[in-house]
């Protein structure tokens, strides 16, 4: 039986409220809060990036796994905001955690899907027996252009999952991937902010891929929505994942645990993985969990997981996602936010 042997998440402590961004651009805050269901979002500190978030999440995953880091044979970080254009994020992480040098490392990229992509490959290598343990991470510090709708959602955070074959906390029951060429959102090399096709991209991009992948994995496993206790779908805003879940036949109760977007924002590659971490923070043995990611361009990865007796035992070794969302926070003004996100140019 292969599955998750350790998991952890990290959300930076800085926040900005939707109201504060709306005020800056003369927009109506109620439209954002009710329309997109976004209250506030996390903002990375000036000293936080995909690497530091990945390290924090992976340190928590190692605490819960309780294994010697040297036994991890593969490390993959999925992100669309790797700090270097050329030089892997993963090499820094393995040296911090004391993994390697006998380790296979790669950085993955697939818009918001890169995290589950890293998890998918990590799981595959463990299941095949090629490596004993593998670490898959999704983390981002993404930016939306100023005064773009994305500015209300693009946030920072991530989650890390160690896969193994012994003492698993959650068994991977099945996986499924669905991919097609769909130019709904992109950023060309050298451009600072991404561009997108606007409001008409929901149906042919997000919903088509999320619904197709989720329906196919239900088909493949013979499971029905009512068999699950929890489901989480990629969260580009508050509305889309609830709408996708409802279309598939999931109830609000099944969706709300992993639905962390109203106070976290969209952490891109870290979005559905952090939602999964929030679910593992409360799941009971034998609970079934569905996770479906979405990455523009476009594709979705689905996993069906089943919690084991080990999960409640090892969960308390690291902080929960909710404790980070509701714990120590610092609220920024738009001016401070602009400085933190390096939107202000100063003389060198």
């Amino acid at each position: 039986m292969s599955g998750i042997v350790g998991y952890g998440a990290f959300v930076p402590r800085n926040r900005i409220k939707s109201e504060e961004i709306a005020r800056q651009w003369g927009k109506d805050p109620e439209t954002i809060r009710r329309g997109l269901l976004l209250e506030e979002k996390s903002v990375p500190g000036i000293d936080e990036d995909t690497i530091t978030i990945s390290v924090a999440a992976a340190q928590a995953a190692l605490e819960r796994a309780g294994i010697d880091p040297k036994r991890i044979g593969a490390v993959y970080i999925g992100s669309e905001s790797h700090p270097y254009a050329v030089k892997p994020s993963g090499t820094i992480l393995v040296d911090v955690l004391g993994i390697g040098p006998e380790v296979h490392v790669a950085d993955f990229e697939f818009a918001c899907k890169a995290g589950t992509e890293a998890m998918f490959v990590a799981f595959g290598l463990v299941e095949s027996g090629r490596v004993e343990y593998a670490l898959g991470i999704g983390a981002d510090t993404s930016q939306g252009a100023p005064n773009d709708a994305l500015e209300f959602s693009a946030s920072a955070g991530g989650a890390a999952f160690i896969f193994g074959r012994k003492n698993v906390l959650a068994e991977v029951v099945e996986t499924y991937s669905y991919t097609s060429d769909t130019p709904d959102f992109w950023r060309r090399e050298g451009e600072f902010y991404p561009r997108h096709g606007g409001r008409f991209t929901g149906e042919p991009a997000y919903f088509k891929h999320v619904l197709s992948a989720s329906r196919a994995i239900l088909d493949k496993t013979g499971l029905k929505p009512k068999d699950f206790r929890f489901a989480v779908f990629h969260m580009p805003n508050g509305k889309f994942p609830l709408s996708a879940g409802k279309t598939l036949g999931f109830s609000k109760e099944q969706l709300e645990t992993g639905w962390v977007v109203p106070t976290m924002g969209n952490t891109y590659s870290g979005s559905s993985p952090t939602g999964l971490a929030a679910i593992l923070d409360v799941a009971d043995p034998d609970d079934l969990i569905l996770i479906t990611s979405f990455g523009s361009g476009a594709g979705s990865d689905s996993f069906v997981l089943k919690a084991t007796e080990e999960l409640p035992r090892r969960r308390p070794r690291a902080p929960t996602v909710r404790s980070m969302l509701e714990g120590r926070r610092r609220y920024l003004t738009y001016g401070e936010y602009s400085k933190y996100r390096e939107k202000i140019i100063v003389n060198q």
């Binding site: 340190q59 911090v96 100063v346």
Partner: protein, 130 residues
Amino acid sequence: MPSPRYWREIPSRYRLEASRCCGCGKVAYPARKVCPACGADDWKQIQLSRHGRVVTSTVIHVPPDDFLMEAPYAVAVVETSEGARLMVQVVDCEPAEVVPGTEVNLEFRLIRREGHGGILCYGYKGVPAG
């Protein structure tokens, strides 16, 4: 070529590797060859816990150029539970909150960028616990 010193210090900067003197038990961070307390040269490598307490602190208002966007910020000498002392920035809080006795967790952060196109230098910073 990035600074060779940063490269050489990776074990202590990234993994908080320190050493404990086999003669008198003193913990040295970063690791040393000869014990300043008892003169012994036999050491056991240890890894510091990511938790400590502020011994003394100050607030930097006029920073070096690389830290311009961060000022004002707190810098503190932190003692870990193993008895090692390290000087770190304390972040994610108001600088004035950082006083002797403040419990901090050590988190891996970006310390500085080597100019516009140079390497990124990482290490640990303190964050008030709780």
